[in-house]
Symmetry: C2
Subunit: 200 residues, 2 copies
């Protein structure tokens, strides 16, 4: 990678932390200059607007969050166990970009605001719903999941409950709400969603 | 109320909408001047800092959200039915301050940021947990709720799932996620929490 390319990448990584912790509106050009150690011109050489940088920083933070959520899922054969691992990853593994979930942060800041960032968050949510729905669809085909379960609705409930619990946990500065959500969602998956396997 | 008192109240109400939609960092002094129709001096006559105004605006928006959530709860005798009405209120009734839930908005913006607003959000969450926990405790005493249910943990799960579903619904611009959360939480309350009443 060229020196310019490396600098660009470093700006995105530093900006991702700043925006994820303090939001788009809460991160000034001065904050970005301090975080990157660059002058204003050094940043604007790579990004024409703060919004363009924030959009790329979101993608970077979202990729990090997705890597954490999806970690090791491929190694688990059963679809319900995959969903449980996803929840455990969400709760236990710390993404490389601090500041909480970029989807939640950006959705809340941009829902009445910046349309570019709002669209980024909307697509991120959709991507997560698609990837988890695919797991549920496979589980339905393999008869690991009860017929009649709506993949989209189920995964949307799981994502929502985890994101809301994350908000509470970050506010209370302990993991109780997240652990409680995990425990209740796991019971729910076991009792209402998993199709018991007949002994062979 | 004095003319000054009325002006102060009007500033708080206008600022509540602005901050709830665009956040503390996303609302400039110019925005506040436009929303209130006052000069900078007219606002600073009543509030010494933007933060002081934002804190009062949060309390105002939170009171409006609480009024909606708790609407008509006293008229319902059974504790499980009270919790279901709370969820229905959260989903169906529109608070007078637009922009979504002030607790969720402020928690997300302030969790790595402004300590005064963070503390306001933390107390608001606690207040909600307390009021709903009290309903669960009464239900336990009256044997409407299964013994062994932890009031705090149950209501924290309900609040988290509703708040996360609200984030998704606002992002997707439809109510599907909220309605799905309501339906799953209602089933959960009926099947796992409600103690069936013996026929008399």
């Amino acid at each position: 990678m060229s020196k310019g390319g490396k600098t660009r990448q470093r700006i995105v990584a530093e900006a991702a932390t700043l925006f994820n912790q303090h939001g788009f509106e809460g991160s000034s050009m001065a904050d970005l200059m301090e975080a990157t150690g660059l002058e204003k011109g050094g940043i604007y050489r790579h990004f024409s607007t703060k919004e363009e940088l924030a959009a790329e920083a979101f993608d970077y933070a979202w990729q990090a969050a997705t890597d954490v959520g999806m970690h090791d899922l491929d190694s688990i054969p059963n679809s319900i166990d995959k969903l449980k691992r996803f929840m455990a990853n969400f709760i236990e593994r710390r993404p490389s970009v601090p500041g909480g979930c970029p989807l939640l942060n950006t959705a809340i800041e941009a829902d009445d605001g910046n349309p570019v960032l709002r669209e980024r968050a909307r697509k991120a949510l959709q991507q997560w719903q698609d990837r988890l729905s695919e797991i549920v669809r496979t589980g339905l085909k393999r008869k690991e999941i009860r017929s009649g379960v709506d993949p989209r609705k189920l995964v949307t409930f799981i994502i929502g409950s985890l994101e809301g619990a994350l908000m509470i946990s970050r506010l209370e500065r302990n993991r109780n709400a997240l652990l409680e959500a995990q425990s209740r969602l796991e019971s729910y998956l076991e009792s209402e969603i998993r199709l018991p396997q007949r002994k062979k």
